[in-house]
């Protein structure tokens, strides 16, 4: 039953109400964001262990509610902002009383009722903002439930209400007078708040917080991202037993802290390690009543204070806790300043950034209430909205320990993920409680014992016996087994295994005579050729380690490598490959006479521990460093590879990777160890997708490798698809492999396997592997996978403790594949190769500097770098090395180099320098190219007056300016195709505007962007365009010419001005018809094409009169719509029809839709882009010609200046290079007439009802016509009006970004329709 209670006392509020306090305003705004959300509901229930008299209970409640005037309000919006008004007198006070004893599980039934009630939002404007219920769940057990809107009550307020209710009930039950209530009044809260906001203290508090957060710190969250609070939250409740609770309290006492502070410190430690962030910002909800009259007022007062903590592995737990104690103490002095205000002050609101990470909400208020002697337990059900994660901690009154709730925002946490965090936190807390608080935090990890065993042992169970062989031994053995098999192919040349072996042996014996032997190095400066392979084998056969000198590197760098490595000799094909001035003896293949040497395998005292090769990688201090890899390491790698991806005679492996990049190592040697054939690509061929496709097909290559960025380029090459027949496996490594690329691979090369490998040069090429699922079904990042044989992977946190699955840390590698050292650099070696604490003494591990995490299944995901090392196109670059070279230039005083990604997916190097004003940046780039390889020379160098600094004086990399690339001048597009192409160029290049004669590569186009552009052009305009075309026809005009006159989009202007504009006629989906806006043209809809995909036909519907000057303009909207409906039916005779329209086009779309329905047809999509029915316009004056001219200029993207006449407007269009300027004067004149005619017809039009739903897109930026409202469609739409606000102005709706949002919704709606 629901009873209506009368209040016991009249309200003390003035009838005009009161303003909200700042604390209440915060809650009000949160509710206003989503008025139908129940997230602001707070609720709890109190379990009463004893008899309850419901009538007495109701009287008690009535009395208490009468005393609590802060509760008895509703909140309305007024011109002066929201105000709280007293509820009508007497206000309805709802109480539900139910006896649930007959239910199967009375407690469950009660909780189900409460859950349902908690999901009901309050109506702020009507109130009441609370609900009460009393359930009998046993003969002597009752549950008292309260739900209250957070705007009127906080946690402490609940405790006041509950205590007073118990007091009154106890008195009334005993027949006594409960005495007067002592609650303070709401007026006091409002007065105190007003006084505070006018006080000096307010100004001081504000200054304090703004100063403390002036650097706007990044706030780590366990979810790694932020979201608005959802309407609900996940809750996981756990308990800590008395034993651990007592230990925590003892620990706290021992380090002069309170037990909540110990829990806060532990939570900070957990967040720091789980996110890899040294600085953590926790939110601490505070009751905010100390020393205030609010202590006696059940209302909303609480605040959240941010607590910044620095968590370092070297500090002790006692020190961290001290930081918490002092941090809270400092915060408390300024605790009245609102969290919401600080967030606004710092400008975090607009950016959707959080001020704090997880909240730690300590609820110390011991209820310990009794109702006429019956004891009680309090159970919180909701403590309010959850933005990220809220940890509620209750000290349970009955001395049974602590209760810990983890409340998570479902947008950010799954229930299982929340449980994992909570379990780890409790496990960590248990270990901290048992440990000496004066030992460094580094002794604590966040993984549980089981997780530790999983990531250290189970995931690394890779032990595998391999014979003690070398890189070269198995090749010599294979030559004996299959002497006549083809070992090498290079263009038209080839060598058998016997020929290759013999040639290599002769050279090896010559090299031995020059001192090449085990432990010695021989440099190889030979371009890709048969000779290169012969030479590499010869060095190994002589027992030496080879040092590749890539002929494409600058001479200065090669000279440095020779000088640094001091090889016994350098082998080159010609003299000019040998860096001038070196003292290293040269062996010139063209001149050497080797015929005198024996062709049999030479003797050498080679062991698996001797070096096999030395490869130089970029060094952060400005000097490249040589990585020395022993035979045992690379032999293990190749044996694993052969076991995992077996190949043999009949297989052909492509060698295309430059020898200075370690991927080339397996390419060179794997095939030759197992009887397969190595196909050597032409020098430079690795950059040419068409060449690669040809060589793979013609040479029947079965196995090859791509760096992911090159794979993208390759896949965009039309000829690549033909490789699917012969190719069996493709390996990727060198940089992160995007999921898109994997899916594109699956589409272009169905049936071919794709494997993702990972490893640094320091660990023998690759140490992990992952077979890619190339189906479209799979999403998420592509893992780098599991460890190879005899290899262990460790993902470690800042304290070098193992990270549990899902937690990001730095990747360390251990096992047989580690390099021996950096050549001649013991300091660097010691720094990167460190003792392995998880293995036997003496074992080493290599710190990669890569960020990674384990999946639950034991695969590793790569997530970026810990330092400034970057990878561009798979090549490793230390920015410091480039900066050092820049800084060496005399006129440069400071230098910084960045990889920028100003356009998504387009990474490029940009250099920044300070120095003399007349710095010639082209000259600087020239000098960089003398000592750095091409890929390390920044494409742009900018000269700055000063480097931007962060508040703490460090270089603020994020504030460095993007290099400006500008374009847009020149001739205007003449055709729709040109118009479309200029738009696609601009989109792909990230530019505002591109002219028809602007060349793609001059505007900063790269081969990766070229691949993207070609794909977009293909999707938008159809046709089979190769990337190569873009090199030959790099401008929109030239490309349009190349695309030919056979495309539907119309190459001559007139064809694009008919009533039906065939934007895309192909595709098997139901066509979409787009109706023209005021100007009568539908070119503006071309942006739909690429976004809706190649299988979606799109037709524009355009006004009559654009082509033929004599054509009559329609005299009514209905006449126009009837004409359009006929034209639409000429394409698609019957429904379902799909219509979209922007502006006037929306009114037309609605009218056409109604007509089609009246003709018995089905219209299943009607999408209106910021279009408003004629009713809204009827009182507006019809635009004069001047307005039409303004509209015309707007269509072209310009604001009207001082142009007065048609002629002046046309002149402006021509001057500014608009697409419209390509139109004839007649057409432009017609547009002006059409605008005026449409405006007149629209005002006279009467809408009928469309039967169905409407998809509406509002241009939500503030506008002058603020009276326009989509609600005015209601009388003319029988179904739902489904709206999406787009943050732009009306004229901007068909620009890129708004169109992205529109088509995202449109695409999913079309998908739904197509089932």
């Amino acid at each position: 039953m629901t009873a209506v209670l009368e209040p016991a006392q009249p309200t003390a509020l003035p009838s005009t109400g009161l303003p909200l306090t700042a604390a209440q305003s915060g809650m009000w705004f949160a509710q206003a964001l989503d008025p139908a959300s129940p997230a602001q509901n707070t609720a709890e229930y109190i379990e009463i262990h004893g008899p309850v008299d419901p009538a007495v209970f109701a009287r008690s409640l009535r009395q208490v509610l009468g005393e609590a005037d802060a509760l008895r309000v509703r909140v309305v919006e007024t011109p002066d902002g929201p105000r709280q008004l007293p509820l009508a007198d007497p206000p309805p006070l709802p109480l539900t009383v139910e006896d649930l004893r007959s239910a199967g599980d009375p407690d469950a039934a009660a909780r189900a009722w409460m859950r349902a009630d908690l999901a009901v939002p309050f109506d702020l404007a009507t109130g009441p903002l609370f609900a009460q219920a009393l359930f009998r769940v046993g003969d002597e057990r009752w549950l008292w439930y309260q739900r209250v809107h957070h705007l009127v009550m906080d946690g402490f307020g609940y405790s006041l209400l509950a205590r007073r209710t118990a007091e009154v009930y106890t008195a009334l039950a005993a027949g006594e007078d409960p005495g007067p209530g002592r609650f303070g009044r709401l007026t006091e809260l409002v007065a105190e708040d007003t006084a505070y906001r006018a006080s000096d203290a307010y100004a001081k508090d504000r200054a304090h917080w703004n100063e403390a957060f002036t650097d706007r710190p990044e706030v780590p969250s366990l979810a790694g991202r932020t979201a608005l609070p959802s309407r609900t939250f996940h809750r996981r409740t756990e308990h800590i037993g008395t034993e651990v609770t007592d230990r925590i309290k003892e620990l706290a006492a021992g380090i002069r802290a309170s037990w909540p502070e110990v829990l806060i410190a532990t939570q900070a430690l957990y967040v720091s390690r789980a996110t890899g962030a040294e600085e953590v910002v926790l939110g601490l909800p505070m009751m905010g009543r100390m020393g205030s009259a609010a202590l006696r007022i059940p209302g909303m007062v609480m605040n959240v204070l941010p607590l910044r903590l620095t968590v370092t592995p070297g500090a002790t737990f006692a020190e961290l806790t001290r930081q918490v104690v002092l941090g809270i103490r400092a915060a408390r002095r300024h605790q009245r300043y609102r969290y919401e205000d600080l967030r606004r002050d710092l400008g975090l609101l607009g950016e959707g950034r959080a001020l704090v990470g997880p909240l730690v909400n300590v609820m110390p208020f011991d209820y310990g209430l009794t109702f006429a002697g019956a004891r009680t337990d309090a159970h919180n059900l909701s403590a309010g909205p959850v933005e990220d994660l809220t940890v509620n901690i209750y000290d349970r009154a009955d001395g049974t320990g602590l209760r810990i709730d983890y409340d998570g925002n479902p947008e950010l946490y799954e229930e299982s993920g929340l449980a994992v965090h909570q379990r780890r936190f409790l496990d960590l807390l248990g270990r901290i409680a048992a440990a000496d608080p004066h030992t460094p935090l580094a002794t604590h990890g966040i993984a549980t014992a089981a997780e530790r065993a999983l990531v250290l042992d189970e995931f690394n169970n890779t032990a595998h016996d391999v014979p003690p062989t070398t890189l070269i031994g198995p090749i010599e053995a294979q030559a004996v087994r299959t002497p006549d098999a083809t070992a090498l192919v290079f263009g038209a040349e080839s060598l058998t295994y016997a020929e290759l072996n013999t040639r290599a042996n002769r050279l090896a014996r010559h090299l031995q005579s020059l001192g090449v032997r085990p432990g010695a190095l021989a440099a190889v400066a030979v371009p890709r050729s048969l000779d290169l392979v012969v030479t590499l084998l010869a060095v190994l056969k002589a027992g030496g380690a080879y040092l590749p000198l890539d002929p494409d590197y600058p001479a200065e760098r090669l000279a440095y490598m020779l000088d640094d490595a001091k090889p016994a000799c350098v082998i080159a094909d010609t003299r000019d490959r040998v860096p001038a001035g070196t003292e290293v003896p040269a062996v010139l293949l063209q001149e050497a006479d080797l015929d005198g040497y024996l062709g049999t395998d030479p003797c050498r005292a080679l062991t698996p521990q001797h070096p096999a090769y030395v490869i130089y990688t970029s060094g952060s201090t400005g000097r490249p460093k040589g990585v020395v890899v022993p035979h045992a390491a690379i032999d293990n790698r190749l044996r694993w590879m052969q076991h995992t991806y077996p190949i043999g005679p009949g297989d052909r492996v492509l060698q295309k990777t430059p020898s200075g990049f370690d991927v080339s190592v397996w390419e060179f040697f794997w095939a030759l160890r197992v009887g397969a054939t190595l196909v050597v690509a032409e020098p430079g061929g690795h950059k040419d997708p068409a060449y690669l496709a040809r060589v793979i097909r013609e040479q029947a290559v079965t196995t090859c490798h791509f760096v992911p960025s090159m794979l993208q380029v390759f896949l965009a090459e039309p000829a690549a698809a033909a490789c699917a027949t012969g190719l069996r496996r493709v390996f990727c490594s060198g940089e992160a492999l995007p999921r898109d690329t994997v899916q594109e691979f699956g589409r272009r090369l169905p049936g071919v396997e794709l494997h993702n490998l990972y490893g640094p040069t320091e660990a023998a090429v690759d140490v992990t592997y992952h077979p890619c699922d190339t189906s479209a079904a799979k999403d998420g990042p592509v893992p780098i996978g599991r460890p190879v044989w005899n290899t262990r992977l460790y993902v470690l946190d800042a304290a070098h403790q193992p990270c549990p699955p899902g937690v990001v840390g730095e990747l360390f590698l251990a096992g047989v594949q580690l390099a021996t050292e950096y050549l001649g650099r013991p300091d660097l070696t010691e720094d990167r190769f460190v003792p392995d604490p998880f293995a036997a003494p003496g074992a080493r591990m290599y710190r990669t500097g890569d960020l990674a995490r384990w999946s639950d299944k034991g695969e590793v995901e790569y997530l970026g770098r810990t330092d400034h090392q970057v990878k561009l196109r798979g090549l490793r670059i230390e920015l410091g090395e480039i900066e050092a070279v820049l800084a060496d230039c005399a006129e440069v005083t400071g230098a910084c180099v960045l990889v920028r990604e100003d356009r998504p997916g387009d990474q490029r190097l940009v250099g920044y320098v300070t120095g003399q004003a007349d710095l010639d940046t082209e000259d600087l780039r020239g000098r960089l190219a003398e000592s750095l390889p091409d890929y390390m020379v920044p494409g742009t160098v900018l000269v700055l007056d000063d480097f931007p600094l962060s508040p703490n004086g460090k270089l603020d990399r994020k504030a460095l300016p993007a290099p400006s690339l500008s374009a847009g001048g020149g001739r205007a597009p003449r055709t729709l195709q040109e118009e479309t192409l200029t738009r696609l160029f601009a989109e792909v290049l990230g530019l505002e505007q591109v002219g028809v004669d602007d060349a793609f590569f001059d505007l900063g186009g790269t081969s990766l962007l070229a691949a993207r552009l070609v794909a977009r052009v293909r999707d938008t305009l159809g046709g089979d365009l190769a990337i190569g075309s873009l090199f030959q026809a790099p401008t929109p005009a030239a490309l349009a010419g190349r695309l030919g006159a056979d495309e539907g989009a119309g190459t001559a202007p007139d064809e694009a001005l008919g009533v039906l504009l065939p934007l895309r006629t192909t595709g098997d989906r139901t066509p979409l018809f787009a109706l023209h806006p005021a100007g009568g043209m539908s070119w503006c809809y071309s942006g739909l094409l690429s976004r809706l995909g190649p299988d979606q036909p799109v037709y524009g519907v355009q006004a009559r009169g654009l082509v033929d000057p004599d054509e009559q303009l329609p005299s009514t909207m209905e006449e126009m719509a009837a004409d359009y409906a006929d034209r639409i039916r000429s394409v698609q005779p019957h429904g379902p029809y799909r219509l979209i329209g922007w502006s006037v086009g929306g009114v037309l779309a609605h009218t056409v839709a109604v007509r089609l329905q009246e003709a018995g047809e089905d219209v299943d999509l009607l999408a209106l882009l910021d279009a408003y029915p004629s009713d809204q316009w009827q009182d507006q004056a019809v635009p004069a010609e001047a307005d039409a001219l303004t509209a015309l200029l707007r269509m072209a993207g310009y604001d009207r200046g001082d142009e007065l006449t048609r002629e002046e407007v046309l002149a402006t269009l021509r001057r500014e290079g608009s697409a419209l300027a390509g139109l004839s004067d007649h057409t432009l004149t017609a547009i002006v007439d059409i605008v005026i005619n449409n405006a007149r017809l629209m005002r006279a039009h009467r809408h009928r009802v469309f039967d169905g739903d409407v998809l509406f897109f509002t241009a939500a930026a503030p506008r002058a016509e603020d009276w326009l409202t989509r609600e005015s469609w209601r009388p003319y739409v029988s179904g739902l009006l489904d709206n999406l606000d787009i943050d732009c102005l009306h004229p901007q709706l068909t620009q890129s970004r708004p169109l992205d949002e529109i088509t995202a919704v449109l695409t999913s709606r079309l998908k739904e329709l197509d089932g």
């Binding site: 020393g291 202590l295 809270i328």
Partner: protein, 76 residues
């Protein structure tokens, strides 16, 4: 045994992890790190050892030793 100002001061200093000499009797203890958990702890201790009857709200309303003395039964 009845509480004295010195005893109160010593207990407060203990709860705050400070030296009693550093705790003034007339200053707002919130500035010295007094929070609700510590008030609850003090109340429990004084209730147990000295039979004090003051509530959390009583003490939190005026968080200073001088103001507490009469509430905690200090007579002198």
């Amino acid at each position: 045994m009845a509480l004295t100002v010195d005893l109160i001061r010593a207990d407060v200093a203990d709860a705050l992890g400070e030296d009693p000499a550093d705790i003034p009797v007339d200053e707002n203890l919130v500035d010295y790190g007094l929070d609700s958990v510590r008030i609850m702890t003090l109340i429990e201790r004084w209730r147990r050892d000295h039979g004090v009857e003051a509530t959390f709200v009583d003490l939190a309303e005026q968080p200073a030793i001088e103001a507490w003395a009469p509430l905690l039964g200090v007579t002198s």
